[in-house]
Structures are given as structure tokens and as C-alpha cells.
Symmetry: C2
DNA sequence: CTATTTGGTTATCAAATGATAATAAAATGA
DNA sequence: TCATTTTATTATCATTTGATAACCAAATAG
């Protein structure tokens, strides 16, 4: 198998992943936050506490824009900043209880849809799916 | 292995896929087309010929907005519409030679980055990666 | 101790995107 | 035949997003 053919496969695969992700996450976000804001909250949820520059780097949003969106989220009481002792320039960000429960809710909905999608898969198949995920993540979809 | 644990794995995996996709496709699009327009062209490239409603459905863009963006792309001579005999309401859309070469170029850049990413993988590993892609696509990332 | 770098904010602007209403022609269904 | 549905367009508006400049304070490097 040459890389060219594998590349075809890869393109089709990533398209499918994007489509399924869209399907699973459709409508899980409250109407009063924008898609970019939801993305930020999702990132905070899985990586908290994080700094503003981490969000900026990982979500590919400029510092000024990250700062602006974070301010809105803070005003909506969905996240909060707190000082970090070692470096007084930095500030760590975490979800507030309201933000946490909002995200818990979202993840739960996504989780249920995922479960529904997996409902007819046998335990052996689940095991091989897990293996496949691990393999691809280490060999193809590794970061950096 | 329960679905809850697999779900964790799944979330991390899709995040990694999105990140790597972003990395591979970074800067492949010319500056004079917008991200949404690039997405439309990419879809046309792999599925042509397509109707406007197909683009609208698959890319999750409303008909009026799809029509608007398609008009801009047509004005830029990147794609063109042609009549379909059976149903005179419909119109099929395909890339123009200029659009085709633009997309060929983009895909080639992405392909090279992919190749670079895969360069240290042995033939046996490539085979198991292909298997893993096929498995996941059929069991997890199937459409509908 | 100064110069530079890092981390972050505020303000402002332009462009991209999303949403909606109103329209029209062709196709389909009763 | 008449009503409805499908496919698409145009116009318009509000919001979101991206980009840039100017700024500040703390940290670090020389």
C-alpha cells in the first residue's frame, strides 16, 4: 500500500470524522453563546486550569480576540480567572460552577448520542475499535 | 471496555483529528477566498458535479448563503454551473479548469505534508493503519 | 539597572457569516 | 387544473469573527 492511496483514505476519513462530530454536537450549546465561545469553553473544560495564551495557541485565536471572548464568558459567569502566585502577569482560567454544569450537560448529550451510535457493537468489536483509535492517534493523529 | 471509557478516548481522538487536519491544511488556500468558500470548493472537488442543495445540505449552509458564495466563486471563475436536462430547476456545479488546478494544488500540498508525517512508518504499519481507518469509518464514523 | 520579552487588555475596523423575507420558475400531486 | 413542494435567487440586516495598533505591567536577560 502506497502513501498516495492511503492519503485518499485519510481524506475520506477525516471528512467523515468532521461530519460525525458535527452530528453529535449539533444543538448542544446554549443559544446565548457563539460557536467560538463554545469551543473555548470546551477547551477549558478538558484542560482547566489554563492560561489565556494557552487558549489562544490551541484554539488558533489571537490574544486580543481571546481576551475579548473570555471577557464575555466571564461576564456571563461561565468562567473565572484567578491569579497565579509565581508569575503575576499570568492568570489561570477555570469554569465556574455554572459553566461546569453547562459543559457537563453538553458532554452528557454528546455521550448519549455516541452511546446510541455504538449500541449494536459487540464487546469484541468495541475492543478492536479502541485499539484502532489508539493506533491512529499514535501513528497519524499525534500532535506537533 | 465500557462505552463511557471509550467515549473519553473518542473525544480525545476527534480533537486530535481536528488539530492535525488544521495543521495539514494551514495556508493551502489562496488569500482571496474565504474559509467557507474553500470548504465549498473542497466539497465540489471531491463530489462534482453537485447541485446547490447538495452543497447546502452537506456543508450546513443555508440555500441563500450557499447561492451567494457560489455566485462569488463563479465570478472568480473557480466554478461553473450547467443545466441538467431532466429537471430544469436544478443546476449542476463543477470546478472550472482554474478551480480544478487551484484545488489540485491545495490537495498536493496537503498530500506532501501527510507524506512527511507518515515518512517513518513501515509498510506493515501502513497496512494496519489502513485497516484501522476502514474499521473506524464503518463502525464509528459512518454517515447518517 | 536598563532593555527586551512575555502575557494580557482595550479600542477600533473591516470582512465574513448567519438569518430571514420575499420572489420566481419548474415539478409534482390531488 | 390548481395547490403544493422543490430548487434557487436577490436583498437586507445583525452578529460574529479576524486583524491591527496602542498600551501596560511584570518578568527576565544583558
Amino acid at each position: 500500500m502506497d502513501t498516495a492511496a492511503l492519503f485518499q483514505q485519510f481524506v475520506a476519513f477525516t471528512t467523515a470524522v468532521h461530519e460525525v462530530t458535527h452530528e453529535l454536537t449539533k444543538d448542544v450549546k446554549p443559544d446565548d453563546i457563539t460557536p467560538v465561545q463554545y469551543g473555548i469553553l470546551e477547551y477549558i473544560a478538558v484542560s482547566q486550569p489554563v492560561t489565556l495564551s494557552q487558549i489562544s495557541d490551541c484554539k488558533h485565536i489571537s490574544m486580543p480576540n481571546t481576551s475579548r471572548e473570555l471577557k464575555k464568558l466571564t461576564e456571563k459567569q461561565l468562567c473565572e480567572k484567578f491569579e497565579v502566585a509565581e508569575d503575576r502577569r499570568k492568570q489561570l482560567i477555570r469554569l465556574t460552577p455554572a459553566g461546569q454544569s453547562m459543559m457537563d450537560n453538553a458532554f452528557q448529550q454528546i455521550g448519549e448520542r455516541f452511546k446510541e451510535r455504538m449500541k449494536d457493537i459487540s464487546p469484541e468489536e468495541l475492543a478492536s475499535i479502541e485499539e484502532a483509535l489508539i493506533l491512529l492517534q499514535s501513528k497519524v493523529f499525534y500532535e506537533q
